[in-house]
């Protein structure tokens, strides 16, 4: 399923409380969310619970999803991230409230833009594959192991500056793959 289709499912949930759309979305994301949580080292039972809680949040927070701001995968990632923090740290993590964010430059949707958006989303999907292995290693450690960049540096036995520059390089690649309206 591509990101445009996934985005539409989330929008349909927000607008119509559509359970069929939710079931479709679940089929795509549930196994990935669980895999992500397993990679984060929480164990299979907790990973399953984290996945189910995250999917429930997807249903409840669907109205906060802005397809112009993020892809479906990116938005669902932030849901999982926040759930994991709530669950594992038992802290309420402050989050940038999307409704508090000033309107972005208006994006009257034209056929050209839609085409461009599709193109860039395809780029984004493969951006991770195209990153050099040393950058991916740093990112995976940061995302999967819940490590701050300085701990990542320590554990990989790398100078802090090296980790910082790998993060910067990966981000500039990522920004290049995203349309202006999404970055």
């Amino acid at each position: 399923m591509d990101n445009d289709h996934l985005s539409n499912l989330i929008v349909t949930i927000a607008n119509a409380g559509d359970r069929k759309a939710f079931a479709d979305l679940f089929k795509h994301f549930a196994p990935r969310l669980k895999a992500f949580a397993v990679r984060q080292g929480v164990g299979s039972t907790t990973a399953e619970e984290l996945m189910q809680e995250s999917m429930l949040s997807v249903w409840r927070k669907a109205h906060t999803f802005d397809p112009k701001r993020a892809t479906a995968s990116t938005w669902v990632f932030t849901i999982l991230r926040n759930k994991r923090i709530d669950m594992l740290r038992r802290e309420n993590r402050p989050d940038v409230d999307i409704e508090d964010v000033p309107e972005r430059a208006s994006d009257a949707s034209s056929a050209d833009e839609d085409y461009q958006t599709r193109q860039t989303r395809d780029l984004l999907r493969h951006a991770m594959d195209e990153l050099p292995a040393d950058q991916v290693e740093v990112l995976q450690k940061a995302f999967f192991e819940d490590k701050s960049h300085s701990v990542v540096a320590e554990e990989l036995n790398l100078p802090l500056g090296t980790v910082k520059s790998r993060i910067r390089l990966a981000l500039s690649r990522m920004r290049a793959a995203l349309p202006e309206s999404q970055i």
Partner: protein, 218 residues
Amino acid sequence: MINHHPPLELLFDYATGSLPEPVALAVASHASMCSDCRKQVDAVESLGGALLSSIEPEEVSKDALRSVMARLDEPEVGAMRCAAATNRETTEVVPEPLLPYLGRGLAHLAWRGVGRKFDEVHLNLAAKGFKASLMRLKPGAEMPSHTHVGTEYTLVLAGGYKDNGEQYGRGDFALKDSSHEHRPIVDTDEPCLCLVVLDAPVKLTGAMGRLMNPFLRV
């Protein structure tokens, strides 16, 4: 115009979810006022999204879908985001991520005067080893010179101050660690309101510091 931002690495750690709550609060509050930093956070999150979409899926339990579907109509419990009883004056100054931690208008917080130069109010955060507070410094207030054992994160919410020749105003984010000695001076006509997060005690460097230093009390 915001001139001082969190370093990219701090935004990165925020977006991956590895920052402790008080620091995340300061970063989120800044990002809610700064579109540049929000773009950086969005970019890191899109890396997370790319990792999620490219991961090898893991089999979920057989009744997972059914059990989640059964809960869709459940009311949401334990949401911290209580509608804070605040006034317009407060919501114009306090960024959205910070509001739930106050729970009431700025004028009704438990402000505690420290000397004649400033008031402060502690924020109730569970994270161990951190102190977070709102500080309101009077115009002209000059803080004693000090350095830090750990790191001090400051987000200016109103007014402004000068520190080592640099001007800080609303939205500016300052990060000071043991390599900085600093001495902020409030140089605006209105009081300077800041969110201050500390992850270790400060080291005083001036003789008068012990009595006056706001950071000592947090």
